[in-house]
Assembly symmetry: D2
Homo-oligomer: 216 residues x 4
């Protein structure tokens, strides 16, 4: 049986909840075809978040890893294309650290591309009625940090067959209700969407070629 | 028993559904305290939409009327403050008409304020976890047209005790999935929100004074 | 010789300058055809701003009045369509007042339409390379307050032949430099644009019928 | 004497002009301290644009290279942080090609960071009253393509002392006048801003540590 690891984050930025944890924990233990989903929470802390996901790789030996994080202000599921080797924190993390222009892995490359089928996931989400878009940047906070750390760990271990990536999700409606003007998606939509992302990843060997870029 | 009339529109602008009709029809026949909700559909057609709502006033003699319409691109329930006496259509309506700078009621005033407790509704929606905002413009298409026609009809009939207004709602997620970047709210959230709007209206005689304006 | 009164505001909301005053004062004393422009500053204060513009009507007996104000966050010259009879202040004015849901003129109508040729102005601005759009709301702060007060004063005096309206303008670049993400227009562009608006108003008796509405 | 190469693009996407070429050509031949600026135009064509900038490196042996491109819809000068090794074209380039998920350099790394002092440039632009922001993505069209090709060429030639990067700039006002709602900056502002970017680069050995990241 294949194992799919989904990670979500603890709340940060003064929010009482983090939709990424609320969504992935609802999928914990669920079967998708021949695979089982395991959901775990990561701290919103530079360093500790990567240590945490590395320990989960050792413990669970997953075949697929999708890290999920909150993107307050985005409207859709953002399927991230690339993780970059820098921390540049606009706010402090949950341990009070605010690194600026710090390299994540000293000997690591400038970036890693996700190895999920990001175009097929986007296509299947839209077909399922879930708003989705390929994103060209995961930012420079703890989400990008974990995404980079995950891909670096997989590369270092020679686990090329383990596929990994990151999906940003909007606020929940109850969060947006306290941020006038902010978009949101219902928890049910997020859960259904992440389940589609898992199923598509498991079913797709080679990604489709569909346009998902930006002019700038 | 008091009667609350909720109207929704048929689909327009090439959409297969209109969230306003999907949401209000789910509330048709429901009780809210001592009141009953009646939901009806209006055509997305200049002229016919007002004729339709006037006929519903005659038929149902409602105590409260909330017209609801789709606002593709908005993120929240928009509780409209004011209806203005002009049609200026960016696209054709469902009958092919596209009036530009045409007065809705020749002898009517420039505008009518909603007589719903728009601030209390916004406050109660947010408290219920439903994203909401007071809006200063309902546009110049069929939504504003019906809103103006409703308020003008109530004023003409001397029905000052009948309260009326308009609420714009975002796309459903399945619509937003075909409009990359567009925000949306789940149907359940919309239904729950409109039910709150009805309950607050029935329970509120004098609106609260809470800030809901815009600098520009 | 005809007289065109342009008003701008003093700075507010902690800004060191107000682009509306910077732009209109550059046009003070300029000739446009057979007309002369007179530029004056208004306080960003509820009540006093209307008293100020009423005094200017008495003093200058202008043929055209265009009040101009800052709209931080907008991208274009916004040619306002309608002024509404309510103050609802998101922040305090320069005298510390923050009225909420207060009627501007107790016996006044709900709204007044601008009597400028708003469509012709928008068309001519675009043709001159100046970004412009018709706007359906001037907000509920001091800008809308002055716009309503101006139109009410003209109506009260029976000065139907005096045309009046309001144009919102974006930040200057040096203001936007302190508001990351905010759009702006250069002072030269604003000045050129307001001059076009004056010339078009003087040259236009009946406005053109060109689409300038919004769906919502 | 040091040489600074500024490149701009020919028009694309049906625009009559490209602000990047209009701005850089105004700086051609100008002195900044002990350096001289040379401005050249690149085609908006995948492949040919990189061939073009490589030829300019050979011909001019510049000490600093700043490629500049149009970002219609952005509000500010965007100082790009990173170039990624993929083409994913939302529209066809000027030769009709529309590559999707094609690697730019087969043996190249996933990304290159700009070697310009992006934080010092952003700080100095703002101090000069020019709206500016660090950007985490240059998109996946010809701008990112040239940016990646430039950094790859510099790395391949062992020209570590030559600094390179990319700056995206908004529409000109006359372009925005044909795209209702689009932000813009005046040509004078763009020229002044690029001159600041050149001067800061020449004067700065080690970049400053100032926050310029994004949460997502």
């Amino acid at each position: 049986m294949r194992t799919v690891l989904l990670t979500g984050f603890e709340p940060f930025d003064k929010e009482p909840v983090n939709p990424s944890w609320e969504a992935v924990r609802a999928l914990d233990g669920q079967r998708v075809g021949d695979a089982i989903i395991v959901a775990r929470q990561l701290p919103c802390v530079f360093g500790a978040a990567i240590t945490g996901i590395e320990a989960l790789l050792d413990e669970l030996k997953p075949d697929v890893v999708i890290a999920v994080g909150q993107a307050g202000g985005r409207t859709e599921l953002s399927i991230e294309r690339i993780a970059i080797n820098v921390d540049d924190a606009r706010i402090a993390d949950n341990a009070g650290a605010q690194p600026i222009d710090v390299t994540i892995a000293a000997a690591g490359p400038a970036a890693y591309f996700a190895t999920l089928p990001i175009k097929a996931i986007t296509r299947d989400l839209r077909a399922a009625g879930v708003p989705a878009m390929v994103s060209q940047t995961a930012g420079t906070f703890v989400c990008n940090h974990v995404f980079y750390g995950l891909m670096h760990a997989l590369a270092q271990r020679g686990n090329a067959q383990v596929r990994g990536g990151f999906i940003h999700i909007p606020y929940l409606p109850e969060q947006a209700a306290r941020h006038p003007g902010a978009p949101s998606l219902a928890l049910d939509t997020l859960i259904a969407g992440l389940r589609v992302a898992v199923a598509t990843t498991l079913a797709t060997t080679d990604d489709v070629r569909e346009q998902g870029g930006q002019l700038h």
